[in-house]
C-alpha cells in the first residue's frame, strides 16, 4: 500500500532555553493509504501536539512531515481534522448545513454544488434531516457527527481525529465508533485517530501506535489482526482483542511484567528488552 503520511524524526518544544517543554521527541512513523491508524498514549503525552503539527497548525521545531509525498508547510489542502471538543469547534452562528458548507467554501466552486456535497456528507452520518438546525439544538453525539460530516465533505486524503469520542457518553461513543468504521469502509478514507482509550484504539484501528509519556515517542507499532467487520460485543470479547489490549496496557502502564503473570507477547518484550539495553548502555557511558 502506498504511504499517505510520513513523519520523520519529529520533535516539538514549547518555549526556548532550559525552561522549554519538550512535548514530542524523535517521532518517526508512517500511515498507509486506506489505513485507520490509532495513536494511543497516556494523557498529556503530547498526542495533541503531534496532531497539530501534522495538521499544519503549528510548525514542528525539528523533523519533517509529508502527506502523499509533499512536505507539509502550513495547513495542507486535502486534510481535515475532527477535534474532541465538538461544542467548541462547530460555528454556533451557522446551521448544521452551513457548518459543513464552511469546509467547502475554499475548495468547491458554486453554491449549489456546495449545498449538494454538504447534504451528501450529512446523509453519510444520518443527519440529512437536521440540516437546517443549529448545533446547540443537537445532542453531543449529533454535534460530533456534524464535525465528522464536515471533515468528510471535503474528501480529505487524510482525516485526523483528536480524541473524537472522549466527550460523549458510553452508548453514544459506541455508536460513533461504529459509524466511523462504516463511513471509512464505504468511502475508503485514510484516518489517523488519537486516543487515550486502549480498547478504542484496538477496536477501531488497523494498526495501533503506542506512545510513551511526555516527551512522546513511539514505543510500539502493533498491527491489529482482527476481521474488518467489527462488533462492539463479539470483537471486544475475542481472545485476539483481549490479548492486544493487555499488551498495550502493559506497555503504557506497567512496563515490567508482574510476578505470576503470563509472559508479555513478542512486541512488548522486544521493546522492553531494547529499552533496558539502551538504559544500560547509557549508564555505562555516563559512568566512564
Amino acid at each position: 500500500m502506498p504511504t499517505m503520511l510520513e513523519v520523520r524524526e519529529l520533535a516539538h518544544r514549547y518555549g526556548t532555553g532550559p525552561g522549554a517543554h519538550v512535548a514530542v521527541e524523535d517521532l518517526t512513523f508512517t500511515v498507509h493509504q486506506d489505513e485507520l491508524a490509532c495513536i494511543v498514549g497516556p494523557s498529556g503525552c503530547g498526542k495533541s501536539t503531534l496532531l497539530r503539527c501534522i495538521a499544519g497548525l503549528i510548525r514542528p521545531t525539528e523533523g519533517e512531515i509529508s502527506l502523499h509525498g509533499d512536505v507539509v508547510r502550513g495547513v495542507p489542502d486535502d486534510l481535515a481534522v475532527v477535534f474532541q471538543d465538538y461544542s467548541r469547534s462547530l460555528f454556533p452562528w451557522l446551521s448544521v448545513r452551513g457548518n459543513v458548507e464552511f469546509a467547502l467554501r475554499t475548495r468547491v466552486r458554486g453554491r449549489t454544488e456546495r449545498r449538494r456535497r454538504a447534504q451528501e456528507a450529512l446523509s453519510w452520518v444520518g443527519l440529512e434531516a437536521s440540516a437546517s438546525k443549529y448545533p446547540w439544538q443537537l445532542s453531543g453525539g449529533m454535534q460530533q457527527r456534524v464535525s465528522i460530516a464536515r471533515a468528510l465533505a471535503c474528501q480529505p486524503a487524510l482525516l485526523l481525529m483528536d480524541e473524537p469520542f472522549a466527550s460523549v457518553d458510553a452508548q453514544t461513543r459506541a455508536d460513533l465508533e461504529d459509524l466511523l468504521l462504516r463511513v471509512r469502509r464505504e468511502h475508503g478514507s485514510t484516518v489517523l485517530l488519537v486516543t487515550h482509550d486502549i480498547d478504542e484504539s484496538v477496536y477501531l484501528g488497523d494498526r495501533v501506535l503506542v506512545l510513551s509519556k511526555s516527551p512522546a515517542s513511539i514505543v510500539a507499532d502493533l498491527p491489529v489482526d482482527l476481521p474488518a467487520q467489527r462488533d462492539q460485543i463479539t470483537t471486544r470479547s475475542s481472545p485476539e482483542f483481549v490479548k492486544l489490549r493487555t499488551e498495550i496496557a502493559r506497555l503504557l502502564h506497567d512496563r515490567a511484567p508482574a510476578v505470576g503473570e503470563p509472559e508479555p507477547s513478542s512486541a512488548a518484550e522486544k521493546f522492553l528488552a531494547a529499552e533496558r539495553a539502551e538504559k544500560e548502555q547509557q549508564s555505562t557511558r555516563s559512568g566512564q
Partner: protein, 257 residues
C-alpha cells in the same frame, strides 16, 4: 403569568404609589403633581406642534449621534482588538479620556462649536463610542482558539478567518454595545439640551417650562416622554438582537424554552 402582564402590574403599582404620595399632602401638589394631572398635560403637549418639534429634534440628534458612534467605534474596535501593539500604545490615552463625564465638556464644546445641535451630537458621540468599542475589543479577545484552528484546518487562511470567524463571533457583542450606547446617547443628548441652553429639544423644553412657568406637571410630562422614547428604543433593539443573533449564548436559553 405572561411577562407583559407582570410588567404592567409593576408599572401600575408605581403610578398608584406616586398618586398616593402626591395626594396625601406629604409634598406640595405643585412640586409633585399626581400622575392623573401629569397625564392630562402629556396628552395636551402631544397635540402641540412646538412640543412635537422638540421631540423630533431630540430623537434626530440622538439617532445621528448613535450612527456616528457606530461608524467610529466598530472599525476602531476591530482595529484595536486585532492589533495588540496599537491597543497598548493607545491604552493610556483611552483610559484618560474615557472617565471624563461628557457633560463636563459642555463649556469647551460651547466655546468651540457653539450650542446648536452639533454640540449635543458631539457629546453624545463621545459618550456612546465606549460600550461599542470595548465590547468589540473584549469579544475579539474572547474568541475560542479552537474555533480559529477549526477554520484554519478547513483551509481558511489567517486573513480570511478574520472575516469568516471573527466578525460573526463579534457581532452579537457589538450589538449589545450598541444597545447600551443607545441609552447613553439619549441621556447625554437630553442633558446637553438641558445644560447647554439649546434652542430646541425635550431637554430644552424641560428647562424652559421649569424656569419660566415653574410648571412641574409639564416638566414631568417631558420627562415621561424621554422615558418612553428610551423604553421603545431599548425594546426595539432587544427584539432585533434576538432575531439577528438567536444562536448567541445570551438568547439561547430563551430560544430553547
Amino acid at each position: 403569568m405572561r411577562p407583559v402582564i407582570r410588567n404592567l402590574i409593576g408599572l401600575a403599582g408605581f403610578l398608584l404609589l406616586w398618586e398616593g404620595v402626591s395626594q396625601s399632602g406629604m409634598v406640595t401638589r405643585t412640586s409633585l403633581p399626581p400622575p392623573s394631572e401629569v397625564s392630562v398635560r402629556l396628552v395636551e403637549l402631544l397635540g402641540q406642534a412646538s412640543f412635537l418639534r422638540d421631540v423630533i429634534a431630540t430623537v434626530l440628534a440622538w439617532l445621528i449621534a448613535l450612527l456616528i458612534a457606530i461608524a467610529i467605534a466598530v472599525p476602531a474596535g476591530l482595529l484595536l482588538g486585532s492589533l495588540p501593539w496599537l491597543r497598548s500604545s493607545t491604552r493610556a490615552l483611552i483610559e484618560f479620556i474615557r472617565p471624563i463625564p461628557p457633560v463636563a465638556l459642555i463649556p469647551l464644546i460651547i466655546i468651540t462649536i457653539g450650542s446648536g445641535p452639533e454640540a449635543k451630537i458631539t457629546l453624545a458621540v463621545l459618550a456612546a463610542v465606549w460600550p461599542i468599542l470595548f465590547n468589540i475589543i473584549y469579544a475579539l479577545d474572547d474568541i475560542d482558539p479552537l474555533l480559529l484552528d477549526t477554520a484554519r484546518s478547513l483551509g481558511h487562511r489567517r486573513t480570511r478567518v478574520l472575516a469568516t470567524v471573527a466578525l460573526p463571533h463579534v457581532a452579537p457583542f457589538a450589538f449589545t454595545g450598541i444597545r447600551l450606547s443607545a441609552a447613553i446617547a439619549l441621556i447625554v443628548t437630553v442633558s446637553t439640551e438641558y445644560l447647554a441652553g439649546s434652542e430646541i429639544g425635550v431637554g430644552a423644553f424641560i428647562i424652559d417650562v421649569y424656569t419660566t412657568v415653574n410648571g412641574m406637571d409639564e416638566v414631568l410630562a417631558g420627562t415621561i416622554v424621554i422615558g418612553i422614547i428610551g423604553y421603545l428604543v431599548n425594546e426595539g433593539l432587544e427584539r432585533t438582537g434576538r432575531r439577528l443573533f438567536h444562536w448567541s449564548d445570551t438568547t439561547r436559553v430563551e430560544a430553547l424554552t
